[in-house]
Symmetry: C2
Subunit: 404 residues, 2 copies
Amino acid sequence: MVTPSPADDAPRPSSSAPSSAATTPAASSASTSPAPSATTTPAAPASNTPVASAATAPAASATTAPVASAATAPPGRATLADVARLAGVSAKTVSRVVTDTDTVAPSTRARVEAAVAELRFRPNFLARDLRHGAVSKTVGFVMGDITNPFYFELGAGMERELHRGGLTMVLTATEDDASAEERVVGSLLAQRVRALVVVPIAADQSYLEHERSLGTPIVCVDRPPVGLDVDTVLLANRAGAAAAVDSLTALGHRRIAYIGSPGDLYTNRERLAGYREALARVGVHDTAHWERTDGDGRDFEAAIHDVLHQADAPTAVLTANNRASAALLRAVGTDRGDLAYIGFDDFDLADVLGFSVVAYDMREFGRLAAQCVLDRLESPDAPPRALEVPVHLVHRGSGERPPA
Amino acid sequence: MVTPSPADDAPRPSSSAPSSAATTPAASSASTSPAPSATTTPAAPASNTPVASAATAPAASATTAPVASAATAPPGRATLADVARLAGVSAKTVSRVVTDTDTVAPSTRARVEAAVAELRFRPNFLARDLRHGAVSKTVGFVMGDITNPFYFELGAGMERELHRGGLTMVLTATEDDASAEERVVGSLLAQRVRALVVVPIAADQSYLEHERSLGTPIVCVDRPPVGLDVDTVLLANRAGAAAAVDSLTALGHRRIAYIGSPGDLYTNRERLAGYREALARVGVHDTAHWERTDGDGRDFEAAIHDVLHQADAPTAVLTANNRASAALLRAVGTDRGDLAYIGFDDFDLADVLGFSVVAYDMREFGRLAAQCVLDRLESPDAPPRALEVPVHLVHRGSGERPPA
DNA sequence: TATGCTCATGTCAGCGATGTCATTCGGCCA
DNA sequence: TGGCCGAATGACATCGCTGACATGAGCATA
């Protein structure tokens, strides 16, 4: 009652734009403002002083300079030296107190702590880390398409684990642009991130070899790097797809369609391979007839219609990612009982819809990536590891129907 | 064909654990390794030199020291001075070339650029930002519960916009712990973030007042701060909920249930208020009978069962967040045609399920927050603004049914 | 009483980059 | 031919903090 779970209320909208439905702009916010973006309220003048407040300013003519720029604010941000002056000790002693390294006489400590509190001193990590070529406490994460929640789940798992190692995470994205990868990574390295977790997008990652040789831990996730030998964390794509198809063939299915993205992407290539492997095991070798790996990954619905209406229609479908799964639902509705289907990637409400899937623990995925980082920080010279996130079939009905 | 959308294949799993279904651990990855977490492959010794490679090392006995520590790697990371030495110029000139500030003779520039390339020099932003009390180019984002994709969507929108302003984003989370807020924020400030975007969790944010007075832009999102007068970006929670209920009452509904989280959280409080407002407009004042704001936000299903089976069962339901919406689907299935319902927050497949919702543009939400930051960096002394993200009703069928 | 030690604290340099100011060197004009 | 100017470049200090080392007081031991 008193300590509620604070985030319980935060909404979780879908990323897909409100589709296939009439939209009523009726309930715009307040009532005024035809502004296209948002409603601005002047914000009632609450309890707040103009700008130059800051308690106990050492010496500053608070009268002049109407535009007190941030960087040159009246007392400015307190430094070690400021604290030292106020406490009547040397900067070094303040440093000792703040970092709790050496022993300091109790009375001195008290005086310093008082000064720290009074000036609201906050150590500058930038300066601290500058010494000795040290690097920051942040780990850079380079996502691919920032609009894909997949990466967030991954990031969430990582953040949590990294936090334990006392590290924070810097988020950046390549915005789908392969040519941006090196630039984005470069900007992170300029910040001297402690380590780098990358979802490879560019055709080649060998440009990172130098950085790796310098000792920066680098971990590639979801897709393997090219021309770079580092730790990787990948899904069991092939095994997962094969297991799904195996379970379908065990029920007697032979005409199984595959709906996925183009195979020149690692993830899809692997899943497609798993699909073919499993079919080959039961003697079905020519699967091209059943495969739909459409051009841009957007037009799954059309591909599904197409394959379901061909001469010898499939009795089962493997949708190779959750967007394909969603497309299948849109194409055939939620009550197509005569068709068996299994999707790769779990998704929200799949349980309600009785959609069997190949699932895996996304949080664990992120955790493993973070673990790689932490491990490598400890033993920089260990040989690169290739971790694989296991997947498992989740039976919910749609994948357990025998052929009609 | 040749340039596929790289992230098309990334999966988008649900955050909910695979529920209500039999799980077959059958298809674990490779076949070996009963390890609980993941499969490790020794990673075939690919084309990779041990550690001390780095081209053109100035002077280093590459024979000794088998354990070349990261920080003290052979040539180490190149600095301005290294480049200067190689190019035969002063450090300052290198700086000029790198930052492209002053004019430099073409021949000199060429020499410096060659040296930069050879040593793979990368300027150290930590050092650069140290000067003059400057601050970094990063903006800190303090999420609430990191397990909630909502914040990542928000973060994604922010990241994209901040990127335009040449800023990067540092992500941290309070992990649901109100007492962690000040600590987490402190750690960001120690990194001298350029600005701070916070989802307030603690009971009071007045501790940030000093930082604000120092000129650090602070923006609160999703929930308003307490004891601090800064820019805010909030959803039109109340108006959205009211609009949903208005549309139900217009159809003749009067017995409308409310399923939400406890009201001591801003978001829920507002949505509940909107619900009550709208019902009051049609003369329904005693709504307590229809409200279910269960204790921990986890037990929506039970609350739904409860309210739907009470004496005078409601003819419509407002689910106040998307977890409640999912719970409704689990509780009543996907074909309950005699019940009208509308959910706050859009969600994936809501279109397939014909689920009417109160939706909003999450990307826009983040964009606005970023815009606040950028605006404030430009005009630090402008009065705080209160932005509201508009919401709109999306009609998909479930909310357009008249009472039975 | 001198020696040696520990504890508390201070001095100083330097991390890497850059703002400020100084210096050098050709010309160019009077 | 002298002086002046601007372009190109360098020297130096400095941002905030901390490692290495120094200092000095107090105290116990030989």
